[in-house]
Symmetry: C2
Subunit: 300 residues, 2 copies
């Protein structure tokens, strides 16, 4: 595995590879590091599906708001590089902030509409930071496929829109959420949780599974599904609900409160964000509408 | 010369070329058609400096304001294709609006600061339209070099900033303004001018040359240079001045009124926009600061 820390070296390495192996595919997993099994699953898939596998680790300052956790975002480069090596990464790119932003960027890539709700509503500018840095990384790595976890379902939808709108020659591959044995979605931010918060954070996945369970037995309106989830999470005294939303996926349009679920015409996402103290957790479940299945729900 | 009208066909052609000729260079000239000698000079340079030369002709609706000349923008596909053929173009890409924007784009590429003055001030959203469509075209064509005329000096500066900020792997090549024998800068919009307007439009280049002539003899303040240009153009009764500005290039920062020219520390652009009836013309002259030259002015 080659560890690269400068943009110039990365661009040169990709250029050489493309000249020497013009028919080969490049898989890319952009991350903010502190890699967990969710990231490892993306890296393994990138390895399996491509000739060259590239990982980037960069805590991108422009996707953090002024009162967010940029300064305390967890880092462990040594462990990350070991994880990457095990997952068969060929190039690990670990730039400094100065490498990525030698001057303050005057150029932004921004996706409208899809970014106005869910995490976009509570984190203004967050997705502009994501689409801008991912554009930069795509231009450096020139990947055939890029892998993103469905825990950040809105990020997947926004990047899919960006790639289509800007004719970027890359396939966005959404990958299933990886969970702890007890159901908690893996996140680098889980490390912030106190033991008691960690225990109560289970309510996130449990409330989603409960909603799916009810939908297996009954047709329910959006407002009933949301009320059930809010009621369940409210049983955790340390949980502070930011949003519970039911939206179409990947178009991210809010379903009206009286829409009956499971919806017949599109995939539906039940998504939530909950704060425990200063730690913000998100989770979601996608209800897929597939023909011929008795119940179109995918617990991924 | 291959004429391509769909995005899919263009992307496939470039992909095949890149696999078969991985070390070859691609030159690209994006235009809105109605090609004149200025465009031809870009095409010839693209031909000379690259293995494959690509022209695009697309009147991009999202860079026109609601009261601008989108609907009457001049078109002559047959003549354009003959010009392209003569200039050694390998691929001419002529997409429809539906090909470029199958749905309304939710994604915008926007450059701040550099777009807040000059044409950006009077044409809100114009440069966002330019940077967005050029991003799309760059992602399709994957050029090594892209050629732009210095008549649109602000466009050159904005695109250079975009490419640097987003790490796009393409070189923006600014090319000299091509002028009629009498000095009028070539523009597809010159066709709109009545004979009398055409005559008076000469004041644009003459006022710039007069300013340069004075600067060859004297050190003058920005306000004196601007006043001289405004006075000269005001002699044309049909001319309606939109702006006359003296700015740094390519950083596009306004110089204070008392700055003495020629400036010692950076290239300077004297830029102007003037309306004749509903026709808007622009012109500029760049004063380069080069060591060892007696007078650092380039009449390009």
């Amino acid at each position: 595995m080659k560890v690269i820390r400068t943009v110039a070296e990365l661009v040169a390495a990709i250029r050489t590879y493309k000249v020497e192996q013009p028919s080969s595919s490049i898989g890319f997993v952009p991350t903010m590091g502190y890699l967990h099994q969710g990231h490892a699953s993306l890296l393994e898939r990138s390895r399996q599906e491509n000739d060259l596998s590239v990982l980037s680790i960069f805590v991108n300052p422009i996707q953090f708001g002024p009162n967010e956790d940029l300064d305390r975002y967890p880092r462990d480069e040594e462990r990350d590089l070991a994880t990457a090596e095990r997952a068969g990464v060929d190039i690990a790119f670990l730039p400094t902030v100065e490498e990525m932003y030698p001057t303050t960027t005057k150029t932004k890539v921004a996706v409208s509409e899809l970014t106005s709700l869910l995490c976009g509503a509570s984190r203004p500018g967050h997705f502009d930071g994501v689409t801008t840095v991912v554009s930069k990384l795509f231009h450096m790595v020139k990947p055939t496929r890029a892998y993103f976890g469905m825990k950040d379902a809105q990020q997947v939808a926004v990047l899919t829109q960006m790639v289509a709108d800007l004719n970027m020659d890359v396939e966005i591959v959404p990958c299933p959420i990886v969970r702890e044995a007890d159901g908690l979605a893996l996140s680098s931010r889980n490390v912030y949780l106190s033991p008691e918060q960690r225990k109560q954070a289970l309510m996130l996945s449990q409330s989603l599974l409960q909603a799916v369970g009810k939908l297996e037995e009954d047709v329910l309106a959006v407002e009933q599904v949301k009320a059930g989830i809010i009621e369940r999470i409210s049983q955790a005294p340390l949980a502070d609900i930011e949003y519970v939303e039911v939206i179409s996926f990947p178009s991210l349009e809010r379903l009206s409160e009286d829409t009956l679920l499971p919806a017949q015409d599109a995939d539906t996402l039940i998504a939530l964000a909950v704060r425990f103290g200063s730690t913000r957790l998100i989770d979601n479940i996608r209800i897929t509408k597939k023909k011929g299945e008795s119940f179109p729900c995918s617990v991924k």
